[in-house]
Symmetry: C2
Subunit: 184 residues, 2 copies
DNA sequence: GCCCCAAACCTAACACCTATAGGTTTCCAC
DNA sequence: GTGGAAACCTATAGGTGTTAGGTTTGGGGC
């Protein structure tokens, strides 16, 4: 029984790849075991249980996403930063649908999720919001972007105008709202 | 073997109740069979497979929700109608979390989902939007409300200001945006 | 190289799930 | 009472997650 040289990180990474390739629901301990050529029970040396595996995928995805957002928003402010933040999330969801679903299904606090909140606050900094309005804005922005991505994933009815245009209008709307909330 | 007097509607209704009581993931054909005191295989006389069962729950929930929204928005216009539409959905999600999850997980077109779109359009009628903007607004409203409910379900960080206040501010923002898009 | 030990693997078993095929029972119409 | 369809059951197959205990591997110390 040669060793497959597994580790928690290797198992979680493979689960994330599998989620994107085969869909979130296809990620099972059994499927991963087949992928690595070991018995299902062997994976318990590396992950406590299925929930811990999925939490690992969530954490990996959150780290990747916050990196993506940091890159996209660096050097931008105001509306440009807002658009970059939103686009980064939409792009990530499209390119990594399985990882995105893992993010939606889990909610563990992590350094990366705190980082995401900080990045959001940084983007909103350009609007000079009061402390309270900053929280309102963070919630509204998160809700709108996440809700959009979820609805879009289900496929907006295929009608004009194109969802890309609607998306642009939605972001413009958010920009306008945050400006109107500005305390300066 | 006395008959349990099952029918597709009875099975789907029990699944919906079970989803709200025990959680969406707890709804299995096995669990339903135990609930009715029959063997699991017997349920296949009434539902084609698990997916069809969950589609039934989705359809039932969509019908209930659109009824709720119709009642809540009747006789209201403008901002009041908008708030009523949004509140009806948020209330429904809170009172019937399992049903709500069934709605998020499925996307089958049905008479009730078409009705929901019509109700949304009726609510937005008060804003006198162009045809294109009506679609943009429908998408933005759906995304914001659904995204909010999803994030709230995961539990906004427990901090001031309260999520209820943020919710009110979010609806105000939507109202303002739709007014600004008005073609009259 | 040998020995020891911990970790990584396997086997066996169990409980649970979905779904099919074929058999049995119930109920209703005639 | 009879016939037939539908509702039920049994048996089975294939799949999932998990635990307990056994076996093998690899690395460190001597």
């Amino acid at each position: 029984m040669a060793r497959a040289n597994l580790s928690p990180a290797v198992v979680v990474a493979a689960a994330a790849e599998m989620a994107d390739r085969d869909g979130f629901e296809a990620v099972t301990l059994s499927a991963l075991a087949r992928h690595f050529g070991v018995q299902t029970a062997s994976l318990y040396s590396h992950v406590r249980d299925r929930a811990a595996l999925l939490a690992g995928v969530h954490e990996l995805a959150m780290a990747e996403l916050s990196d993506r957002i940091a890159m996209a928003t660096a050097g931008r402010s105001g509306r440009d930063a807002l658009v970059a933040l939103a686009e980064a999330q939409r792009d990530y969801a499209r390119q990594s649908p399985g990882r995105w679903t893992a993010l939606q299904r889990g909610s563990a606090p992590s350094p990366a999720s705190a980082r995401l909140v900080s990045l959001t606050w940084a983007v909103l900094r350009g609007y000079h919001l009061s402390d309270d309005d900053l929280v309102h804005a963070t919630r509204l922005l998160g809700a709108t972007v996440n809700g959009w991505i979820a609805l879009e994933g289900n496929g907006f009815a295929h009608r004009d105008p194109s969802p890309d245009v609607s998306w642009g209008r939605a972001l413009d709307a958010l920009d306008t709202v945050f400006h109107s909330w500005s305390s300066t």
